[in-house]
């Protein structure tokens, strides 16, 4: 079942078939990206604005590459939080850019719910590129795509998500989607970084790094947001790395052919040691980045088809 909505706000709203349809489409775009002429005309004549209210390198470039490979005019707009504090509201800014006949906005914003809010107040399509702690749906999709490529199927799969789950939009998108696909998900992190009422996720919560890694097919390490720590969630980087970091020794507990994912950017020596990051046997971090472009092409393409069908 192809996804038929104006916006992509979060994977919590999607059913299994819709998730799989994005991945199927991404496979085709990945093949295109590996061909001689990395170009498809499906968004020719369309305007995509990357509206980033938070810093980003990977995600913004990935969306820009995706839009351009589909033939769209891709424009980057970044507003530091201070510039939005100059007075203009988020919706006013979006309406102004909409007046320039923008078809799709890719929005990254520090506030949870911001993508939902803009989508409700804009005729353009909104792709959520991360809103606060809520969701980062294209990251979730590219994680699933990468897992599928390496594991062949989502059947009988155990995935561990480790780190600052409470403050991670990647974790939320991953968890919602994986539960819908029937994947067994284990969570681990210091209790200060686990959200309250975790039962809503219906996941097993581990009590040690060893338990979290043992028997897992996929390990997703989350980034510790060093720049956002107010110093009360964990006592020191040294201690974090000791009890919550992924090492090659701990990796031995994982299932055969287990893979390691990370949404980037990595803090080497904090959540993961370099011998894990750079281990070609299980680190698929750069595959994730490659697949991210294909997933974002699939998302932009799908939303554009919906717009065409509705004469938007």
């Amino acid at each position: 079942m192809v996804y038929q909505h104006k916006d992509l706000i979060g994977l919590r709203d999607l059913c299994k078939e819709e998730i799989l349809s994005f991945i199927d489409l991404a496979k085709e775009f990945k093949a295109l990206n590996n061909s001689d002429v990395k170009k498809s005309p499906s968004l020719h004549g369309k305007t995509v604005i990357n509206a980033f209210y938070e810093n980003s390198t990977r995600t913004r470039v990935s969306f820009e590459v995706a839009a351009k490979r589909l033939g769209a005019d891709a424009i980057n707009f970044s507003a530091s939080q201070s510039s939005s504090k100059k007075g203009e509201t988020l919706v006013d800014t979006i309406h102004n850019m909409e007046a320039m006949k923008t078809d799709i906005f890719v929005l990254r914003h520090p506030n949870s719910g911001a993508a939902h809010f803009v989508a409700q107040n804009s005729d353009a399509s909104i792709v959520n590129a991360g809103d606060g702690l809520n969701e980062h749906p294209t990251q979730g999709l590219l994680d699933l795509f990468t897992i599928l490529e390496h594991k062949g199927s989502f059947e009988n799969l155990t995935v561990s998500i480790i780190g600052d789950i409470a403050h991670s939009r990647v974790a939320r998108s991953d968890i919602w989607a994986m539960r819908k696909l029937g994947i067994n998900v284990k969570l681990f992190g210091p209790p200060t970084m686990l959200p309250v009422h975790m039962e809503v996720f219906d996941c097993h919560v581990c009590s040690s790094m060893e338990e979290a890694v043992e028997g897992s097919d996929v390990i997703i390490m989350l980034r510790i947001q060093l720049e956002r720590q107010d110093g009360t969630l964990f006592p020191s980087v040294r201690e974090y790395s000791k009890f919550f970091g992924l090492t090659s020794t701990r990796m031995k507990l994982a299932n055969k052919n287990a893979i390691v994912l990370h949404p980037g950017p990595i803090n080497r020596g904090v959540e993961m040691n370099s011998d894990v990051v750079d281990n070609k046997d299980y680190s698929v971090i750069l595959n994730q980045v490659e697949n991210g472009v294909a997933i974002r092409m699939a998302v932009l393409h799908t939303l554009n088809l919906y717009r065409k069908s509705r004469n938007m």
Binding site: S112, G113, L133, V196, H197, E199, V200, F201
Partner: protein, 425 residues
């Protein structure tokens, strides 16, 4: 001048009676079964005649933020809600921390002449939480209680001083109970829904810790502490304990806290954003139980107007607060319809108990010798809560545009008709 209200059912906190109310000038002079001659006869059409409601917690944003509401629009909103006495909080600009602001607020309300405005002064000068205000001087000017409301006093010594000092003037302190050092920047109740939405939570312990402190300070000082807008089950447990121990403590709940839960936030609707936040079903049930049992003393609205410009933003950036006055009667009547409280208890919570707490001897009852502050309530009135009904300058209610049942169809203040649905007079 004599006014007769006939064909109504008089509801007081201690019972109801089918009788007529005879008013002379501003006082109720008799409750009679027969009809007598009067200059004006009001037909209550079988509706309830209740003592004018007393709202112990409103924000009229005046002075300073008159684009949200002011004392005039606030007064009009009040009488359109059956409310004849309002206690506005001190977080105005400038702050109501001195007698001249208090006097100016009262004066403005008197000019419009719809309600009695009984200002709540700040506890601390400038709401800074360090030095207490000139309480005696402000009481002389008309202030009736003291609260730093949304910026709770974190220094326990200052709170102690406020409780002790206000006691000397037979006044009291209202606590917006919040330990602000616990979960900073929270925007909603910390629970399953905040986990789902990725919004930063405000644990109910944030409130409960402060109630614990303040009730213990009331025990120490023998001062009177009134806990504003109680939102959690554990808060009620603590208040129950304090009452059992004879501590001088009273409390209020708001209609939104007994009507809505955090589940309403699933669409990130900023009209459901307030502090304290909407909590879990379990908390709502505890509040309803406490309304029934008598543990809760007062229903107050925490009427908090905010302009659409302020609310039409990202959820994190929207201010806390919801309009409360014009939904007070319909939401409270819903409790009556659901069998949670009786009509008499409704009067106790919205008028009799506030009058008792505020020592207003001529208010809170329909009886001979009382002030003719009267709300005629039609429990079956159906209407859309829209522009034509709304008297506030703001519209930040999730019920705006919805069908409501039950309303004040006429309000009298000092014997004069000040509201005749849907018009203020």
């Amino acid at each position: 001048m004599k006014t007769l209200i006939k064909n109504g059912i008089i509801v007081n906190s201690d019972g109801q009676i089918k009788a007529n109310v005879l008013i002379e000038d501003e006082m109720i002079v008799d409750i009679i079964e027969h009809e007598v001659q009067a200059d004006t006869v009001i037909d209550a059409c079988g509706n309830y005649i209740m003592p004018g409601l007393i709202d112990m917690h409103v924000h009229f944003r005046d002075p300073g933020q008159e684009y949200k509401d002011d004392v005039i629009s606030g007064s009009e909103t009040a009488v359109a809600s059956g409310v004849t006495t309002c206690l506005p909080m001190a977080n105005t600009f400038p702050i109501n921390d001195n007698s001249s602001i208090t006097r100016a607020m009262i004066q403005k309300a008197k000019q419009r002449g719809l309600i009695d405005l009984l200002p709540i002064g700040a506890i601390s000068q400038g709401l800074h939480g360090d030095r207490i205000v000139e309480m005696g001087d402000m009481i002389e000017a008309g202030a009736v209680a003291f609260s730093d409301d949304g910026l709770p006093v974190s220094d326990s010594s200052v709170m102690r001083d406020a409780l002790e000092y206000s006691r000397g003037f037979n006044s009291f302190v209202i606590s917006h109970s919040e330990d602000c050092s616990l979960c900073r920047k929270g925007v909603m109740h910390e629970g399953e829904i905040s986990t789902i939405l990725g919004l930063k939570g405000m644990a109910s312990e944030k409130e409960e810790i402060m109630i614990s402190r303040d009730m213990l300070l009331a025990k120490l000082t023998k001062g009177h502490i009134h806990i504003a807008h109680v939102s959690s089950a554990w808060s009620l447990k603590l208040i129950e304990l304090a009452k059992q121990e004879g501590i001088n403590i009273t409390c209020e709940v708001t209609p939104h806290h007994f009507s809505f839960s955090d589940k309403n936030l699933l669409s990130y609707n900023t009209h459901f954003k307030m502090s304290p936040p909407l909590r879990s079903e379990n908390d709502i049930n505890a509040i309803r139980e406490a309304l029934k049992s008598g543990l809760v003393d007062v229903i107050a609205t925490d009427h908090a107007p905010h302009h659409n410009d302020d609310k039409f933003v990202e959820f994190d950036n929207a201010p806390f607060g919801i309009l409360g006055l014009q939904t007070l009667v319909p939401l409270t009547l819903k409790l009556v319809n659901e069998g949670i409280i009786s009509l008499e208890r409704m009067v106790e919570l919205t008028s009799a108990n506030p009058a008792k707490i505020l020592n207003l001897k001529t208010k809170g009852k329909i009886a001979k010798g009382m002030l003719a502050d009267i709300a005629i309530i039609d429990p079956n009135k159906e209407y859309i809560y829209d522009e034509s009904i709304n008297k506030s300058k703001s519209k930040n209610s999730p019920l705006f545009g919805e069908k409501l049942t039950g309303a004040a169809v006429m309000t009298l203040k000092n014997g004069r008709v000040v509201y005749d649905f849907p018009h203020c007079l």
